[in-house]
């Protein structure tokens, strides 16, 4: 049934990821609503408007609107756009890289037919997810006794659907033209992040408010659909773009040569073929790259590493420079008047930004840096073993006199080195930003914070490795560790808000990252030791687990 045609098979290929994302999102919403219910929400009403805007707090916020805004139009929109980007970028390029496009088109189906089927599958899954989230939001509110009266969750859902599809179709268009999945996903994710950043920060700078309208993300929440209903003008702008991308996709796919399974030529390959550079590049890219398991693993992740390192470095600079535009006086006043505000800032993911440290914590260390480090750690750790197993290269690797523990240790080493480099890039960016912005920040404390966030990456990377060592399934390892990471992130952010539950925050690794306020207080050696211990412990567990199990074999 699910293999009846290209459309149903595409749905079948994608429904698991969509379901997992939906469940995670709803759990986050449930968690947020139940936590928000337990503390005094009135503080929000008394905050200055500018602050509410920065924190994404709608005017007249109550428990329901706060949770729905933060978790649906915030994290939810990211998740939905991420899903459509994955789906849109994979549509044609993944069939090409797997070598199945020829087989598919060997049937009486046109390229247009294939692309339309894949696009339809993406739209259907997104539609189902949006409708389910819409219903579940009311269900969760009812169970917890939270009032959602007056909120247009449906309107927000329509905006969410359209912004997600905007990114999905953009990725599809790039993939259809280039046949390069990485380029499609990378460029679209880049557009999304720049857009989120711009829409978040530009309105804070006087005279720049309207520039935000250039960015697609503006049309998600610019009209506050949760309170004001659907803004059909905004939906129209995004829908027209989606239509345009769809047309561009069809034109692009129908006019180019399809790729075979071949591996493309990179810049390094070209330099390797060029007589002047042949010797040195062959040494670096050839013999050095394959001299050790860890070096080879490291080189396989250089693209991921360069993107995350570059983004973190640039963000660090950007934040430092932007700080001078922030309404610091208002903030300082607020913190003086409402000491509780600090606690709430912590819950939103950072410190108060009456100080540069607080601003950096809010914009970088609260969410972005740990997310980047976790992406690096989990992407490497979670596929360290299953990646080789699913490609059937593990058998060949272990046919050499290499004990299994050595494979684990070398793969862990590559993961740790990648995390350290990302940590260093973050450090360099923040320091450069502080210098350029003329901010008085303690460099040693920045270093301490970067060390701790690096260790967060290695902890979750080793967790992913341990899961991979246990089951040999990359999907379980990656999604499992992301799930645990999300729960521990939320736990460490929200549990301290409740007096009774504050103690439990110590069970979350995040507590040992920002719990000691390292940007202000410097390195807490005990916390660093705990994170190092966790990393080493998980690697040791991975060794034991991998030693015991059968290798997986894909036939």
């Amino acid at each position: 049934m699910m293999l009846a045609n290209i459309f149903t098979k595409s749905v079948r290929d994608r429904w698991r990821g969509t379901t997992i994302a939906f469940i995670s999102l709803m759990l986050m919403l449930l968690f947020a609503m139940s936590i928000y219910r337990n503390f005094d929400i009135n503080i929000y009403q008394e905050m200055p408007e500018v602050l509410k805007r920065i924190m994404g707090i709608p005017a007249g916020a109550d428990v329901g609107s706060l949770a729905v805004s933060v978790f649906l139009s915030g994290a939810g929109a990211w998740v939905l756009a991420g899903l459509t980007i994955a789906s849109g970028s994979a549509s044609i390029p993944s069939e090409e890289s797997q070598g199945t496009i020829g087989l598919l088109l060997g049937n009486p189906k046109s390229r247009t037919n294939v692309l339309v089927s894949k696009a339809a599958a993406m739209v259907l899954l997104m539609l189902l997810m949006i409708v389910a989230s819409w219903g579940c939001t009311y269900l969760i509110a009812k169970i917890l006794g939270v009032n959602l009266g007056g909120l247009s969750v449906g309107a927000l859902s329509i905006h969410l659907l359209v912004i997600a599809l905007f990114h999905g179709f953009l990725a599809m268009a790039i993939g259809a033209w280039t046949g390069n999945r990485g380029a499609a996903a990378g460029v679209t994710t880049g557009v999304m992040f720049i857009s989120i950043f711009a829409v978040g920060l530009l309105p804070l700078i006087e005279g720049w408010e309207n520039v935000a309208k250039v960015f697609p993300w503006y049309y998600l929440n610019g009209s506050e659909p949760l309170f004001n209903g659907v803004n059909w003008g905004h939906i129209g702008i995004l829908s027209a773009s989606i239509f345009l991308f769809a047309v561009i996709s069809l034109v692009g796919l129908n006019r180019r040569d399809l790729k075979s399974q071949n591996v493309g030529l990179t810049l390094i390959d070209r330099l390797r073929n060029y007589p002047m550079t042949q010797k040195i590049i062959t040494r670096l890219a050839g013999s050095t790259r394959v001299s050790r398991i860890w070096i080879k693993t490291f080189s396989e992740h250089q693209t991921l590493l360069s993107i995350t390192g570059y983004v973190m470095f640039l963000t660090g600079i950007l934040i430092g420079v932007l700080y001078q535009f922030m309404p610091v006086d208002t903030m300082m006043q607020l913190v003086e008047n409402f000491p509780e505000a600090k606690t709430i800032f912590a819950a939103i993911g950072g410190g108060d930004f009456s100080t540069p440290e607080g601003f950096f914590q809010l914009e970088i260390f609260g969410l972005m840096a740990p997310a980047a480090l976790m992406v690096v750690g989990i992407a490497i750790g979670g596929r360290a073993l299953s990646g080789e197993e699913s490609r059937n290269t593990m058998g060949l690797l272990l046919a050499n006199p290499v004990p299994r523990y050595k494979v684990i240790i070398e793969k862990s080493l590559a993961m740790i080195i990648c995390a350290v480099i990302t940590g260093i890039a973050t450090f360099a960016g923040v320091v450069a930003g502080a210098l350029l912005g003329g901010l008085d920040m303690n460099i040693a404390n920045v270093a301490a914070t970067c060390l701790l966030v690096t260790l967060i990456g290695t902890v979750f990377g080793s967790l992913a490795l341990a899961l991979d060592a246990a089951v040999g399934n990359g999907r379980v390892a990656v999604f499992g560790s992301i799930g645990i990471a999300l729960v521990s992130y939320i736990a460490s952010s929200f549990l301290p808000l409740s007096e009774n539950l504050a103690g439990f925050a110590r069970w979350s690794p995040y507590y040992y990252f920002l719990g000691g306020d390292p940007l202000v207080m410097g390195l807490n050696w005990g916390h660093a030791a705990i994170l190092i211990g966790l990393t080493l412990g998980l690697i040791a567990i991975s060794v034991v687990l991998f030693k015991q199990r059968d290798l997986r074999y894909t036939s």
């Binding site: 591996v263 050839g286 013999s287 398991i293 080879k296 290269t393 593990m394 060949l396 036939s555």
Partner: protein, 302 residues
Amino acid sequence: MNNHSAIYTEGLTKHYGDVRAVVDLNLDIQAGEIFGFLGPNGAGKTTTIRTLLDEIRPTAGKAWILGMDSHKKAVEIRKHIGYLPGDLAMYPDLTGKDTLTYFANLRGGVDWSYVDSLAERLNADLDKKVGNLSSGNRQKVGLIQAFMNRPEIFIFDEPSSGLDPLVQREFQNMMREVTGNGCSVFLSSHTLSEVQHVADRVGIIRSGKLVAIESVAELRSKAIRRIELDFDTMVEATVFEAIPGVRDVVIENHRVVLSYDGKMEDMLRVVMDKYELINIRTQEADLEEIFITYYREEAATA
């Protein structure tokens, strides 16, 4: 167990849940021997190899390679093994040379002049990325990596897939050379033609069970022959049909055409008692036929 055996298994068994992939497998492969391991798809050949290499652990039974326990001494054993997996997969972004360098590094170095000579013999292109090679050319890189450390035991899983006949012949020569030097080859395949020209013995596995181990010469002697006999007079089919091992008898005047599996002497004695034989022609024994019979018989009893 036998310390002199290259590969020795005792009651080797591997279950995946309810699926009995390999059942009570007993093998004894000697130094200097090419052992053909034959069976249809899904018979348990690859599972056996993966158990020998400690990629997976047996549910019961044990295996020894060069007298060493296949699990406890797995790393030591691999120093002496050259392995080519079935469905060979390598790192698509690496060139053939990079791939070999990687595995050579993991082994602590190899003799590169030997690698070059192997590449030349197999006509392999080591400068292209593995992902851009045809399956046959990729297989050549796989073969070189199996030979390059001069192992004592070779384990090949469907090694000829994708290779052209010239390279197949060169590969067979290479196998004969290494066994001539005392090495052993465990050659797994689902087609007899891949092993019959080189193997000393073959083991036939079906549904995880070893159904026969025979030398190729023995197999050949058992194989069904097509025989034409000319007599000086008309003959009766019933005389021939009564001989054990005779089937498909066709009479054309003074000529009989029949299929026979058994000793030629036994048949001729009966025939020559009755008639005067003028001429006899036989066709080469068809091993493939007996091989398929093994599969079918087991399939019928399975």
